[in-house]
Symmetry: D2
Subunit: 314 residues, 4 copies
């Protein structure tokens, strides 16, 4: 059965027809007006009808950045779009018609599910997905099922506390994992190193045009790839935090594979090697269990669409 997957971003919407192997058969894009939620409903519905004329589809899955109710119908709160307790599934269903069921999923969960079904997590029973971009998001699969939690807000991995009294997070708490394992953390660490370790920061500053404030994640990755010692150390620190935090999750959930996605994953082995070292060094019961694999994500930007479509079929 084909299904339609919808991925609603801050500025545009991607809508595609996805087959049972996760392949995208057709795809269209629409603009988003984040303040006009009814227009988003209509844009999605129009595209679904358009694609439905070309393909027989059995379900529609919508990936949305925000808190989604556990029954997969409602966006309770979204940071970037004006949804507040918004019944997104029924709104779209009302426009598309009753014959095709519509479900809503958190976008990180949808992307993680795509990775689980068709990407680096395929074949596993238990998976932790970490999406390391500006922040740290994720998805959790237990016993081949996506974990949504009682109220739909599971897998907020970035807000596990890893350092009591640690860096402040936008969520108002101290020491959230996101403050140690994210692109923002990498950039903040790089900027701080320029102040605290000026004798080591020459190459990083060069890449940022001599201005500390303009340092971005790719500057760190590039310098590290050139062999710059400070940049290598910054990525290693980030990787250690990823691995050590993942070991705490593994104590709780015993996953088979940990998938690393998001922009920071572009650093590749410069990040993966310290992540694996940190994970092994902190893993409980080492010697009494296999060590979970840590792998880069394989699905690209369409992961949310693909995962939402696949989840809608279930």
């Amino acid at each position: 059965m084909h299904a339609i997957g919808v991925d609603i971003g801050g500025t545009k919407i991607a809508i595609g027809v996805v087959d049972e192997d996760g392949r995208i058969l057709a795809q269209v894009r629409r603009e988003t007006d984040p303040d006009d939620v009814a227009s988003i409903d209509r844009a999605i519905a129009d595209a679904c009808v358009e694609l439905g004329d070309q393909y027989e589809v059995g379900a529609i899955g919508v990936a949305a950045a925000g808190f989604v109710s556990a029954d997969r119908t409602t966006v309770q709160f979204a940071p970037n779009i004006a949804w507040r307790e918004y019944p997104l599934a029924s709104k779209i269903a009302a426009l598309v018609g009753p014959q095709v069921p519509v479900v809503v999923e958190n976008d990180a969960n949808a992307a993680g599910w795509a990775e689980f079904r068709f990407g680096a997590g395929r074949g596993a029973s238990d998976m932790l997905m970490l999406t390391i971009g500006t922040g740290l998001g994720g998805a959790v699969v237990v016993g081949r099922e996506l974990v949504r939690g009682r109220w739909g807000v599971a897998a907020e991995v970035g807000h596990m506390r890893v350092v009591p009294g640690g860096h402040y997070c936008g969520c108002g708490h101290e020491g959230c994992w996101e403050q140690y394992a994210s692109g923002s953390a990498l950039v903040r660490d790089a900027k701080a190193a320029v102040v605290a370790q000026p004798h080591l920061a020459g190459r990083l500053l060069d890449l940022a045009g001599g201005e500390r404030k303009r340092i971005k994640g790719p500057h760190v990755t590039k310098a590290a790839q050139e062999g710059d010692a400070l940049a290598v150390a910054l990525l290693a620190k980030l990787g250690r935090w990823i691995g050590e935090g993942a070991a705490s999750v593994a104590a709780l959930l015993d996953p088979e594979v940990i998938v690393i996605g998001g922009g920071v994953a572009g650093a590749g082995d410069l990040l993966l090697t310290p992540a694996r070292e940190g994970f092994t060094a902190q893993l409980s019961a080492l010697g009494h269990r296999p060590v979970a694999r840590i792998e880069l994500a394989e699905q690209g930007n369409e992961a949310g669409m693909v995962g939402a479509a696949d989840l809608a079929r279930r």
Copy 2:
């Protein structure tokens, strides 16, 4: 369908017939010789046959303290009994006969499941059980299913790291949650307080017969119940760590209820109140989700037996 539940402790085995409502219809006990694993098999099988003559039973569930394989057949390692990659389920089945299936479960998981099905967690979909005795064990239920993990070692909650560079744990790592949220932690904190805060420790020392080394958990609870300020503070510190750590789990799993069992739970509200405060203070997305309940366990010492029997039915 009735099922037999078996709970193998360090010195004795409890075997009982459990109905579908978690009631124990009959129960026998046997001694354990932890070094003679074949004798344990025989003792269990004999009791099962004996009980099977009186009740019609459809399954046998065995709760064992140790790492149990995810397929519920084998104890891979046990700290107190000489099981090493021991196929406990098939050993017992060979003695009992093929008509009744036998499954093995980790004892903390079994006890947690009893709580989920028949105790403080009943009616919930997602539950975290914390068993706070000498150490910190637990069980995790997600979507009404027990979480065993890929290799059967999930729910090792005590070994999530909560303080980098923190107290050493018997597992060889620093800062495990067990070192902050357990009876051992309470006693260690109490003994330390006698040294660091001698002016506050009079009542605690009295209860321990004047000897710091003889302070035990119940002394702290008793002093706290009398209103002793230091003892109240010690339990509050323990409760805060329980609640704050549970908030990290909640970020990952979004449970509906957190059940507190084990000997330390005897402190009741002296522990629960700070645990709830710590949980609320650290919970991410407060205001966008309900706050999970934190409740005392309701099942008693037979929880492992009851839970193993019920899991065997599934």
Copy 3:
């Protein structure tokens, strides 16, 4: 012997004649142009000459915010004024004439010295001064002598590390004491509490006109004085960090008195009580030593001038 004390702030200069009991006999003020260091020299020299016509003075002491060389002659670096390896003492002496010696002191050291000689530290042999404003500065007196260190940069108390992996500091390091014991920390904690604990933050938000970003330290103090629970807790947290950090200093230096100055000191007992509790709770060798007093500063805004004058006499 009378001495002239000079306190160079970011926007104005205070110059006064101070007698041996720390009393200010006369005082004038001048504007500062932080980018024109020669104009600062001239303004100081003019005022010194003017005051020197009225009083017989034996020395001139200049308090400057910046790194001052251990020989009391040179400002090596200043954050707000364009001094870079600037021989401030000789520049002023060249204008005033050779008959009156000129010395330069760090402004926090000068203010601490005034407190030691004429304020809350008088009579003590060993003192720690903590100036808690936007940041955390201080001064250290050991054996009745001001501690300047080998290169003049001692008493940077705010940059002792109290939390590995803790909040980032402007100095580029993580976990500096200043990030836990300062007005900035108080405001940051208050703003975070509004996000993390919205149900408790009503009064604080009211005082800030309903805008989280406009919360200032005095709002916290005012709310706490009214009895607002969150504000009391925020000040208590700040006080605990002051006291616990001071206990680390006490392990090293064994002071007799710890003096708390700066704007945050206005919270009085709401701050002092938890500071004393934190100090006592963390003090090593409690029971084998008296507990140092923790007191509010007594000298006001002229402390820098008074202390610089007194140090110049020595």
Copy 4:
């Protein structure tokens, strides 16, 4: 002027005549009975009289392990000898006669002073001495004067807190520097690594005869010198903690040199290199100040005697 130095250990007393250049001209030893404090007085007095017959001495300095009053007369408490508010100086003076003044000093302070006057700290104005044996002791010199503190208990460097919620210390507190920068910490870390990282611990276990519990500090040093990766990492971790903690002291005191003594110093560059790296990485105001030297102690076992003698002359 020659002076007599006395170093009272747990099982024996060393008494020697020391010249103004720190050379030992003559030396005798006596046994200690730690429970019979009068016998210790007599043994010291007898030896002093004996040596005084051969050399003209102007003062007697006694180094004692314990809390010594700031006026250098009384041992207030000692962990290993039965002194409790014991006026050791006057007891010895009563036996030796009034013509030679007697002073008492804390033994770590005396040893640090020897290093300052005649060892790795000579020529400096400000020094931090760290004596890293089983525990972490030290001495502080500020402005060429030994820092004793208001009540004589300064320089308890091992009890500065470096990790909130960190390892418990014998003093009853959590996270004392001693728990991270001492021989005990090294051995504890090594034993833990055998549990947590068994695949890396082969060589360490071999050296300890295959028994984890028998691992000692020299095993780690030997394995590290052979190039064993785990042992090198363990010493590096220890060195980092030494350096990072020293950076906090440097923020407060701005020393010119940090001297590392005690048994652990035998690891040499395996310890010094990471200590220097940790110090530089954490030092505040790097770039605005020279980086203090970190050097190995030069004085041997007689440092306490030599330092006590020299302090008695002052």
